[in-house]
Symmetry: C2
Subunit: 375 residues, 2 copies
């Protein structure tokens, strides 16, 4: 299998694919929760039972075609920085990183598929793809699900569907989500209204970084709340429709901003660029905000194509554990801010100042004012 250092040397494929085409929906992700029949859920299992489950599942997963030359480790084999790096890459959950004996992670070489063993459930399998591509991500993880189902027996009830530790996952065991970049809705103060509309139809929205409702970097995740009483296809279709609509709202808001207050937009983009290029101490929170504006600038034509890719990689690499791994030693908060600023400056050193005189929206459909009612 692959070494940790090899895995981490490359950005995940889902991080780099969004550079073209989809400026608003950065990634689409499907996660399935599964458990083995006749084995206690991880929270109730004894160590020996957890280990038994892992020893059944780990080789079965490693043998999947998609896991060829992939990464596979028991969590006990990883140190805390390595685990934190996997969390920052969205490859394992924060909760999983805290688990000990009997838990493992198996990750595909391209980092688009990752499977946690003995997280809250015996199996948490996810597929992440760039852009708005929920159906494709679902097909991918579904194939893996089918392949595993041929090897092991899942805990399944004809009436309830897949059985899970937490009742909120019962049924399909599926959580589908997309990560959206919504700076114009935030800048134009429409975000609250949009999020409320999304909530009202039973979908969940939350900020990506910083947990809770705080939304750093204007990044939001929209996902399904319910997993029961509805088919996977129907859930995905509904979610996909809403995501399309929110993305259209964002593009419309960008168009309005550029039309009505181009100086404000140019100022935000220019300041973000100036600070990222020349700060010597920067927190991850502040960097996130500015990188978000840089990405918007790229989408609006102020920076050359490929800027979003730089942004995506930066977002990943300036996180605390990534920094620690990069420097190979424990860092104080001020050292982190210093090294973060250094990395940001060096990554952006060839990025020319924004061409703010030619701001343009490239995806908005200005004829049809988007209507939140259709959500």
């Amino acid at each position: 299998m692959m070494r940790f250092s090899t895995l981490i040397k490359h950005p995940a494929e889902w991080m780099t694919g969004a550079a073209t085409g989809n400026a608003v929906v950065l990634t689409s992700r499907i996660r399935l929760a599964r458990n083995l029949a006749r084995h206690p859920f991880p929270g109730w299992a004894k160590k020996v039972q957890r280990r038994e489950v892992m020893e059944t599942l780990k080789p079965a997963i490693e043998n999947l075609p998609c896991m060829k030359d992939g990464f596979s480790k028991e969590l006990e084999e990883l140190d805390s920085v390595q685990k934190q790096v996997l969390v920052e890459r969205h490859l394992i959950s924060r909760e999983h990183a805290a688990r000990g004996e009997g838990s493992a992670a198996v990750i595909a070489r391209q980092q688009t598929v990752s499977i946690m063993i003995n997280e809250e459930d015996h199996l948490r399998m996810q597929s992440i793809l760039p852009g708005q591509d929920l159906h494709h991500a679902y097909r991918e993880i579904s194939g893996i699900d089918d392949a595993l189902a041929a090897e092991v027996e899942y805990a399944f009830d004809l009436r309830l569907g897949y059985l899970t530790t937490c009742p909120t996952n019962l049924g399909t065991g599926m959580r589908a989500s997309a990560m959206l970049h919504l700076p114009a809705l935030v800048l134009s103060d429409q975000i609250g209204q949009v999020l409320q509309a999304v909530n009202k139809i039973g979908l969940a929205v939350r900020g990506i970084f910083g947990e809770g409702s705080e939304s750093l970097g204007h990044l939001f995740q929209i996902s399904n709340q319910s997993t029961l009483g509805e088919s996977e296809e129907s859930i995905l279709e509904r979610l996909d429709r809403v995501i399309t609509q929110v993305a259209r709202n964002e593009l419309f808001a960008r168009e309005k901003l550029v039309e009505e207050d181009p100086d404000m937009v140019a100022d935000k983009i220019g300041r973000a660029y100036g600070l990222l290029r020349h700060a010597w101490l920067i927190s991850s929170k502040e960097a996130l905000e500015h990188v978000s504006m840089l990405r918007l600038g790229g989408d609006l034509g102020a920076f050359p194509a490929g800027t979003s890719r730089i942004c995506d990689e930066l977002l990943m690499d300036i996180q605390p554990a990534h920094l620690q791994l990069h420097t190979g030693k424990k860092l104080s908060a001020e050292e982190r801010d210093n090294i973060r600023a250094e990395i940001v400056r060096s990554r952006l050193q060839n990025l020319e100042a924004p061409d703010n005189r030619s701001l343009q929206t490239n995806g908005g459909d200005s004829d049809s004012s988007p209507d939140l009612g259709v959500l």
Copy 2:
């Protein structure tokens, strides 16, 4: 005489001279208050009496050798933007700009000498020089004072000295001041202590911009409070000694900052540079703060020699009336912020990013820790 547009086309000589040598004391200024004998003070005078005073003084002043090819206008001949521009250049006072019939301003070509007629007193004459040069500035204005005294009779009392409208100017009628740039004392939180010490020995300290105690751009003016019972020479000597000491404190604080927290200093300078280079909307208050850091960066070797000169000219030119004059039309606050940012960007476009790796203090005397006690 000189036209307004010609006067304003060039920066004042005292603005550009400080570029070399004196990094902390930007300018030295002497102002003398004088009144004509047997004429009521301007506040009590009738229009016709004010006009009479002006008609006596204006030609006498215009004929002074230092006023050859200078600027001379009655305030009624200037529009409000022009008057405001003169205020922003420290060539006339805010109070003088508000006066009408019978008031005038005569300004030397190099803008180092300017004389207000019928301000609070019949005559307010000032000399401004770059750097720490109070004695030279005094000699200059004193020569003018002597020349005028040969032409007109001053209101003078053998016991009280020169008689003035306000008793705080009685005696010498002299206000001597220096403008100091004290960013390191502010950043290291020592400024309060320094200002208190200066106040305690009977000198006044105030921020330059924004009036009152607010100090924008880390610029402070130190001046004498009392004008009575002490010779000009003794006042100047005391003031000069204090200014020298405060400047040494500032240089010592810079050295400490660079030594103990170079990343913080580099960060402040870098951010200021980044924002000034790339903002599209900037208030004068914010610009002042950043220009102050740019100037500090220049003093510390992060920017090439001559950067302080760019800073000084910027400080002048981004003020509201200067902007208005520059564009030739009335501007809204947002338009001002926009044009200000444009001017700043264009003035700085050839200034390379700060070389923060070679920060150094160039004037501190690190052997002797300065002692506020000697003030």
